[in-house]
Symmetry: C2
Subunit: 331 residues, 2 copies
DNA sequence: CACATAATCTAGAGCGCTCTAGTTAGTATT
DNA sequence: AATACTAACTAGAGCGCTCTAGATTATGTG
C-alpha cells in the first residue's frame, strides 16, 4: 500500500505540509520553483495524493455521482460518454454506480452515491416511481436523464413526440395494424407509449399495446406469439432498441423478412441499430447530447449550491428526437 | 446537503459517538436495545453515514476498484456482472472507473482508483503494454481480467486455445482461405492470433492477418476491402464480436449471405452474437465466470494483505473457452 | 530609507469517522 | 462477600488532507 503521505513529502522537501497541498492542487500561493521542487520530491518518493482525505477535508471538491441503470444497454454508455465530455473539461470528480437490469439495485446504488457524499447525482434510467425518486433526492440535487420526473431536474428527449413520429412513420408507410411493445417495469417510458396512442387515435386506428419484460429473449417470445396470432400486425413499435432486436429475432426465426414482411421500429438509436445487419429504424433521442446537457445542469447545480444563490426552481430540458429510417421499415 | 453527523445522532440519542459508530457498523459491543434506539434516532434525524470519513479513519474498509475498458463493448458488462456477484456477497465496497474506447483514458482511470485508495484493483481490458501495467501496479495488488499480463495476477480464458478451436472449426468446415482480423491497438489479445496461427500452420495453410482498429465501422470497411480483393477469403475470424459484427455488415452490404457465402467467427459470445438476427459463431470465454474468478482473487489478495501472510506469488487463472457454433458458419 | 503592498510560506484547527485503551456496571464463581 | 469475568459503554487520539489566519520575506515607492 502507498504509505507515503503529504507529511513525508513536506519533510523531504523541507517545506510545510500546507505548501505541498497547495502545490499538488495547482492552487495559488507557491512559487514556480518551489512547486517544481515539491512535485519533484513527491514523484521521487512515489507520493500519490489521497483523494479520500482531500474529500473529507475540503468543502470544495466537486464530485458528481452518476447512476447508470444497466451496462448491457448501450444507451447508458452513450449517455455516459456525453456526461464525461463535459465533466472532463471541468475539474469535478466522477463517481459511478450501476444498477441491475431489473431495477433491484437502484436504491442501493443511489445510497452508495449518497454515502460517498457526492454534490450532485445524475441518474440515467432510474426504475423507481416518481415519488420514490423525489424521496431519495432529499438533500442532494438529483438530475434525471432520459426520463422526466416531475419535481426533479430532468433532461430527456420528448418521448411523446418520439412515439408519435415513429408511429406516424409506420402509418405513412401504410400500416394500420401496429403493435406497441411497452415496458411495464420501467417507470417513465410512458411518453413513448403516449406518443404512439396519440398518433394511432389521430389516424383513427385501433391501438394494440403488449407489455414485455426488459429481457430481449422474452421480447422475442412475446413478439413471436403476436406474430403467430390470428391477426398478426404488419408493424411493431418497440419501446427501445433492445426490445426491437427481440422482435427482429422473432421475425427472422419465422423465416420472415424485417421491413418486407413486418416492419419494426425501435427507440434509442444505439450503435447496434445502425449496423447494416440490423438496419433498424429507430428514434434517436440523441443520448450523448442528453448526457452533455445533464452534466452541464449538474455543474450549474453545484455552482449555485456553493455560492448560496437561491436554488432555482426545477429545470426540465427537453431535446427533440429525430426519426432514423432504415431497412426495417422499408418495403 | 446532509449536515447531520454521527455526533448529532450521539447527542440526540444520549450516547457516545463511538457507540453510534458501533451500532451503524453492525459491530459487537452494543446491546440490542441501545442499537435499535440509536438507529431509530439516526433515521429520524435523516442521518446518512459518511463513507468518505469512514474510509479515511479505518484501515479495515475493504474496497475493490474495478476498471472497465469500454462501456460500449458488452464483454465488460458481463465481466462486471461476475465481479458484482462475488463482491455483493462480501462486505467490500466497489469503486468503478471506466476507460475510453481508444485506451486514452486508461492511465487516468487507474490513477483515480489509486487516489481513491482502493485495496485492490481488478482491471478488465487494459490497453497499456505489459510493462506499463506492471509499473502502474506498484503498491496496490492489480488483477488483470480477460488478459494475461506476465508478472501480474491474471484471470482469463485460454485465448490461444480459443483461437485454435475457432480456426479449427473453420478448417473442418472446409475453409482454406481464412483471414484473421487482429487488433494492433489492444495489447494482450495476441493469444487469439497465436491460436489462429497454430491451427492454420498445423493444417498447412497460409495465414492472412489483417489489422483493424477498434471501431466497428472501420472493421466493416476493412473487411469490405478484403472481400472485394482479387482473392477473397471464404472465412473470417475476428478477434472479437464487435469486429465480427463489422464483418457481417460488410458481407450483408454486398448482398452476400453470412454462413452461406462467407463464414464468420467472432470472440466473446456477447449477448449480441446470440441474437438470431446475428447468429454469430463465436468463442465463449465465459466472461461472467472470469469476472467471478477475478473478484474471488481480489478478495483473497485483500485478505492476505490484511493479515500479513507472505504475499503469494503471482496467480494466473485460465478458463477453458468453448466454441459456440451458429448460423454464421453454417452452409 | 522607512513604509506599504504583495508574494510566499507556516501553524494548527478541523473534516466525520474508527479504534484502542479504559471505565463502569452486571453477572457468575468460590 | 470478595474476586473474576464479561458485557456495555466512553474518551480521545488519530486517518491525510484543506484552509484560515498569521508570520516572513521580497518588491516597490515617494
Amino acid at each position: 500500500m502507498s504509505r507515503i503521505t503529504m507529511e513525508d513529502v513536506a519533510r523531504e522537501a523541507g517545506v510545510s505540509r500546507a505548501l505541498v497541498s497547495i502545490a499538488y492542487r495547482d492552487a495559488v500561493g507557491v512559487s514556480d520553483a518551489t512547486k517544481a521542487h515539491i512535485i519533484d520530491v513527491g514523484t521521487r518518493l512515489g507520493y500519490v495524493p489521497n483523494r479520500i482525505a482531500a474529500r473529507l477535508a475540503s468543502k470544495n471538491v466537486d464530485t458528481v455521482g452518476v447512476f447508470l441503470q444497466d451496462l448491457h444497454n448501450e444507451v447508458f454508455a452513450d449517455v455516459f460518454d456525453g456526461i464525461r465530455d463535459i465533466i472532463d473539461d471541468s475539474d469535478a470528480q466522477l463517481v459511478l454506480a450501476v444498477g441491475r437490469i431489473d431495477g433491484s439495485g437502484d436504491a442501493a446504488a443511489i445510497r452508495a452515491l449518497f454515502e460517498s457524499r457526492v454534490d450532485v447525482i445524475i441518474a440515467a434510467g432510474l426504475m423507481m416511481t416518481d415519488s420514490e425518486v423525489r424521496a431519495v433526492a432529499q438533500g442532494t440535487p438529483l438530475i434525471s436523464v432520459t426520463r422526466d420526473v416531475p419535481g426533479i431536474d430532468s433532461v430527456c428527449a420528448d418521448d411523446v413526440a418520439g412515439g408519435t413520429i415513429a408511429t406516424a412513420h409506420l402509418i405513412e408507410s401504410g400500416h394500420t395494424n401496429i403493435v406497441f411493445l411497452s415496458n411495464p417495469q420501467t417507470q417513465g417510458y410512458q411518453g413513448r407509449q403516449r406518443g404512439y396512442l396519440e398518433a394511432i387515435t389521430a389516424a383513427g386506428l385501433e391501438p394494440r399495446i403488449v407489455p414485455v419484460t426488459y429481457d430481449r429473449h422474452d421480447a422475442e417470445v412475446a413478439a413471436g406469439l403476436i406474430v403467430d396470432s390470428p391477426h398478426p400486425p404488419t408493424a411493431f413499435f418497440a419501446h427501445n432498441d433492445q426490445t426491437a432486436l427481440g422482435v427482429l429475432d422473432a421475425i427472422v426465426l419465422r423465416g420472415l423478412r424485417p421491413g418486407k414482411d413486418i416492419a419494426v421500429v425501435g427507440y434509442d438509436n444505439t450503435s447496434l441499430s445502425q449496423a447494416p445487419v440490423i438496419a433498424l429504424t429507430t428514434v434517436d433521442p440523441h443520448s450523448i447530447e442528453l448526457g452533455r446537457s445533464a452534466a452541464r445542469q449538474a455543474l450549474t447545480r453545484m455552482a449555485d449550491a456553493a455560492g448560496d444563490a437561491a436554488a432555482e426552481a426545477r429545470v426540465s430540458i427537453v431535446h427533440e428526437p429525430t426519426l432514423v429510417a432504415r431497412a426495417s421499415t422499408a418495403r
